[in-house]
């Protein structure tokens, strides 16, 4: 018993150490992202003063100089950069003059809507993808197998916004099953439950659309991984022991086949907001993607910088979480470090 505890302690220690170094590296990475984004915005023609002047309906040179002075835009580039990074470390992403709101509030306000889409689509894609992958691997020439191949090709080649519009045409305009846009119907009355049902109803098509990309990736990868695992020696041993196929597939093989799928799912974090931009644009979904798009069109610098930083943060946290998930599924991961 103490020995097991010792091993456990050792594992936790290596894990903590690895997490510590990864976190430091993540912070450096985020700093680099901040510097790059800020420099890029700085290098572009026009600045915040122009945005403010535009929202005021124009301003003369004197007022422009005044605005630049007020917001420190006349200071040297490095000073501005330093001020910005210092602020970010205090969780202050600046103030949006386009929305008249602090950027942090703006992002937090839009985040839940995007989370509904992304988490919904990821869970659906993972569950359906793994199930399809396993079924098709057990019967490589069956209908499911062809379905997986077809899905993978479709998911790769079909532009996601087009898939979204096709869903719209079929399920809301022709069949009238789902609303065409937005996240909720303001006229819906009743308690929290009615509200929840309303949002769920609105989110079906956007989630399905976003899911179509992931599902293609996961089902194909799971099929490949499962085929490989099913051909390995330990599966043959398990079969030779007289275990039922069900036990071999779901207890022995699936655990190992699922690791690469988790890794891939983790990699999708970097594409989360990018995918959301297009899907949200199709369904007028009030999430981060729409916010990003609007702020880019409006040249709202603080918001653009904020969202770029936030999405880098999501990727970094996502990578840490993926690592954690892999360690839970596969104890061999991290043993090397």
């Amino acid at each position: 018993m103490p020995r097991i505890l010792g091993i456990f302690q050792e594992l936790t220690l290596t894990f903590l150490r690895a997490t510590f170094f990864r976190s430091i590296y993540a912070v450096i990475l985020l700093l680099a992202v901040l510097v790059l984004n800020f420099s890029m915005m700085h290098a572009a023609p026009g600045d915040v003063a122009d945005t403010i002047a535009q929202s005021m309906g124009g301003a003369d040179a004197e007022i422009m100089a005044q605005i630049r002075n007020d917001y420190g835009l006349d200071k040297p580039f490095l000073v501005q950069l330093g001020t910005y990074i210092g602020k970010v470390f205090h969780l202050d992403l600046g103030y949006s003059f386009f929305y008249n709101q602090p950027v942090v509030d703006l992002i937090l306000e839009r985040l839940p809507a995007t989370l509904i889409l992304v988490i919904g689509a990821q869970i659906l894609a993972l569950v359906v993808g793994v199930v399809l992958g396993v079924i098709s691997a057990r019967n490589p020439n069956g209908i499911t197998s062809h379905l997986v191949t077809g899905l993978a090709l479709f998911g790769y080649a079909a532009p996601v916004f087009w898939t979204g519009i096709l869903f719209l045409l079929a399920f809301s305009l022709h069949l009238g099953w789902f609303p065409t846009s937005g996240m909720q119907d303001v006229t819906v009355e009743g308690g929290g439950w009615a509200h929840f049902v309303d949002i769920a109803h609105h989110s079906v098509l956007p989630i399905l659309t976003l899911c179509s990309i992931y599902l293609a990736l996961y089902s194909r990868l799971c099929r490949t991984a499962m085929l490989e695992v099913l051909g390995s020696d330990y599966v043959r041993t398990a079969k030779a022991k007289g275990l039922s196929t069900r036990q071999v597939v779901y207890k022995h093989a699936l655990k190992n086949a699922v690791s690469p799928v988790i890794t891939l799912a983790g990699l999708q974090f970097s594409a989360v907001i990018s995918g959301a931009v297009l899907v949200e644009a199709v369904y007028s979904w009030p999430g981060l993607g729409t916010l990003a798009f609007q702020s880019i069109i409006a040249r709202d610098t603080p918001t653009i910088l904020g969202i770029l930083f936030f999405s880098a943060l999501v990727v970094v946290i996502g990578n840490l979480l993926t690592d954690l998930a892999l360690r839970l599924v596969d104890p061999r991961v991290g043993g090397k470090q």
Binding site: A157, F161, I165, L278, I296, S311
Partner: protein, 297 residues
Amino acid sequence: MSGNLQKTETAQDIIDAAQHPMSEAWGMFRRDHAAMLALFVLLLVLIAGVAGPFVYPGDPFEMVWAPFTPPGEDGYVFGTDYLGRDLLTMLIYGARVSIAIGLAAALITVVIGITVGALAGFYKGWVEELLMRLTEFFQVLPTLLFSMVIVALFGATLPMITLAIGIVSWPPVARITRAEFLRIRELEYVTAARSSGVSDWKIMSRVILPNALPPIIVQAALMVGSAILFEAGLSFLGLTDPNVVSWGQIIGSNRQYILDSSYTVTIPGIAIFVTVLAISLVGDGLNDALNPKLRKR
């Protein structure tokens, strides 16, 4: 004596029978029906883009007939859009933009990716560490969002759009190149080249690179498809050169009118879908043809 002669003859026969690796790969590829069909479709799209404007002249921005004319009516094969523009003309011009941007952006990713991956895999040590950190850094950036910002800030011109796509898409190419270089640099023929005093540059470009190319070619083919999708996404959002027509932009500008004319959205989408699908199938075919280990499958 005669036995010896016999032997040399057989060796010569083998040499005669041996094909150039590329023609052998082509032989493999030719037997892959899906890939051949896909290649044929790609050629059609290419011909439509290059020769289309001469065969079917017209200005993609010009109003030629009543808006919302359904496909096939009044001599307009694909009908007209909400501004009465001929959809077929728009598709032809869109093919040019999609293919040009797809190829150019893929070229950028391949050039950056091979350079970074080759240096990292060849020199190892701190060079590799530094370049791979750089690659990771670019993977953290949100691809579409980042290129949207570049296009919006620095101008929506075709070269800028191409650059914006290329700059965010190269990390996979760099990773594959590095892995191949790491593997090949340990092989005997590289050691032989090294010991006979061949310069680093020549070893990289003449000895390792040709042997590392097959997976890179496959990846590059897929990159063309991704770049076409990427451009479609950007132009769907309106972040495109206003002076040219592209497939994504046709969908984006017509999507408000899908109740009146769903074909203005479905047809350009099919064009993108079929083109990217064909590229992906050709990529699969290349993968099988260029990878001798898979040939027995």
